[in-house]
């Protein structure tokens, strides 16, 4: 196969689905108006695909903090922290996150993606074992591959299967690194962390939980699904991102293991990339303060989750526990594409997820809700989905 043949395949595949028309890769937000509204193709559009769970992207405190840092500290750090040193803001953000999570250590990375790479490549290497949930995010798969460790999968969110696979590993199990997510990003299901933590405890392995979609969303103080399940003590490393509930970019890992600090020297995705911009760090710190001090944002988000669930009951979907990530599973990619386009024309943007990005070859429309959505926004998308899909959902897998 010639070098570029694979692109022909990809181009043909896209052509067959989109017939040269609009696709998610080509959507341009001409103007962003608020955390939940934008102008797309000249039309005012409600955004339901942002992961902006707390609606903080236009928060005044965050913007002011970012603006001040921009004036004070400039546009960028122009290098990695190893080479150029850390700014005071980097260190402060790490202290604040460690404090929020009640952990001894925190390392901040430039993205959530590189946090997973950095943690997995930093903690595990050739000769080590990583065992991951089958539905893990691409960054977890990539981090595993780049670590050089031996990597095994267990069936999605199946603690008994994890247990079986750990037992199969024999004496190596007690040194294995188990990796799961708090809230799974595509299907919006939350991990059964109580049972996974129990299996982990029995095996003596280490547990990493990626709370990318659960920070600020779950738990009494917003620390995530591990907090909600009451098993934080069994979680050795929490990984996460600033790019969803905090509305900026960057990632982090917190832990009580002193070894985490050594990732600053040993982990290539920390060492060999530029550190987060001072303004981004300042915005993130302000957003974290918001997350901690305004639990009403979480309440508002969950009110919206329940409101949408009320609408979607009309679609006769099988019961799913309410979640800020709502998957609408469709029987085939063509229907998903058609519905996605139709919604966009009605001024509603949501995520179109086609295989292999969604697990098990399914196609889906994915919504993520925000504390900043109004009741009218929710009703608009609920009514549109029922109007477009009311008739066809019965034939869909769920």
């Amino acid at each position: 196969m010639a070098l570029f043949d694979k692109f022909k395949q990809l181009a043909n595949h896209r052509e067959a689905l989109f017939h040269g028309g609009i696709d998610p890769g080509r959507v341009v937000i001409e103007r962003i108006l608020s955390p939940t509204h934008a102008i797309i193709d000249g039309r005012e559009t409600v955004l339901f695909g942002t992961n902006n769970y707390l609606g903080l992207t236009f928060d005044e405190q965050s913007i002011d903090a970012g603006r001040a840092a921009l004036s004070r500290e400039g546009t960028g750090t122009t290098g990695s922290r190893m080479a150029n040193g850390s700014y005071a803001g980097h260190a402060a953000l790490e202290r604040e996150l460690a404090d929020f999570f009640g952990r001894k250590h925190c390392v901040v990375f430039s993205t959530g993606y590189s946090a997973n790479l950095g943690v997995l490549m930093g903690l595990a290497g050739p000769g080590d074992v990583i065992i991951i949930d089958a539905d893990s995010h691409a960054s977890i798969y990539d981090g595993c591959r780049m670590s050089g460790a031996e990597v095994f999968r267990f069936r999605h969110d199946d603690a008994a299967d994890l247990d079986r696979r750990l037992k199969r590993l024999g004496s190596r199990a007690s040194d294995a690194l188990i990796v799961v997510e708090g809230l799974y990003s595509m299907l919006g299901d939350r991990a059964d962390l109580a049972r996974i933590a129990a299996v982990k405890a029995e095996s003596g392995a280490f547990l990493v939980v990626d709370e990318a979609h659960s920070l600020g969303v779950f738990g009494a103080t917003g620390r995530g699904v591990a907090e909600e399940a009451g098993v934080e003590a069994e979680v050795d490393f929490v990984v996460g991102t600033f790019s969803k509930s905090l509305g900026t970019t960057g990632g982090y890992c917190v832990s009580n293991h002193d070894e985490l600090e050594l990732l600053r020297y040993s982990s290539r995705p920390f060492v060999f990339t530029a550190s987060p911009c001072p303004s981004v760090v300042a915005c993130t710190r302000a957003a974290l303060t918001n997350l901690r001090e305004r639990p009403e944002l979480r309440t508002r988000l969950w009110d919206n989750v329940r409101r949408l669930a009320g609408h979607l009951e009309r679609l006769e979907r099988p019961d799913r526990p309410p979640s800020p990530v709502v998957p609408i599973l469709l029987s085939n990619p063509a229907l998903a594409v058609e519905t996605w386009k139709e919604l966009l024309e009605r001024g509603i943007y949501l995520n179109l997820v086609l295989p292999p990005a969604a697990p098990n070859g399914i196609s889906l429309l994915r919504l993520s809700l925000s504390a900043a959505h109004s009741a009218a926004d929710i009703d608009q998308v609920g009514d549109a989905l029922v109007a477009l899909l009311g008739g066809v959902m019965k034939s869909s897998p769920g």
């Binding site: 591959r145 095994f152 999968r153 696979r165 199969r168 295989p355 070859g361």
Partner: protein, 83 residues
């Protein structure tokens, strides 16, 4: 071909037969997982989960790049079984 290897092959054929039937192809050593059976990486990983349980072995993800044909799969599984 040792008896054990034949056993492995039987299992591989059994697990993959539904995919072969769907594509209307018959299975042989040279059958390619992606080109002939239309299995993408996600589907191959699903197949491996099933084989792991049937043989009660652990198959590392790391072998994925080595798997083009059924013969490759058989060779990798036999290597794991003798571990």
């Amino acid at each position: 071909m040792s008896e054990k290897a034949t056993e492995t092959r039987d299992l591989i054929f059994e697990v993959l037969r539904p995919f072969a039937d769907e594509k209307g192809v018959s299975l042989s050593e040279g059958t390619e997982l992606a080109a002939d059976l239309d299995l993408d990486s996600m589907k191959i990983m699903e197949v491996l989960l099933e084989i792991e349980d049937r043989l009660d072995i652990s198959i590392p993800q790391n072998i994925l790049p080595n798997l083009r044909t059924l013969a490759d799969l058989e060779r990798e599984l036999d290597a794991l079984k003798t571990h």
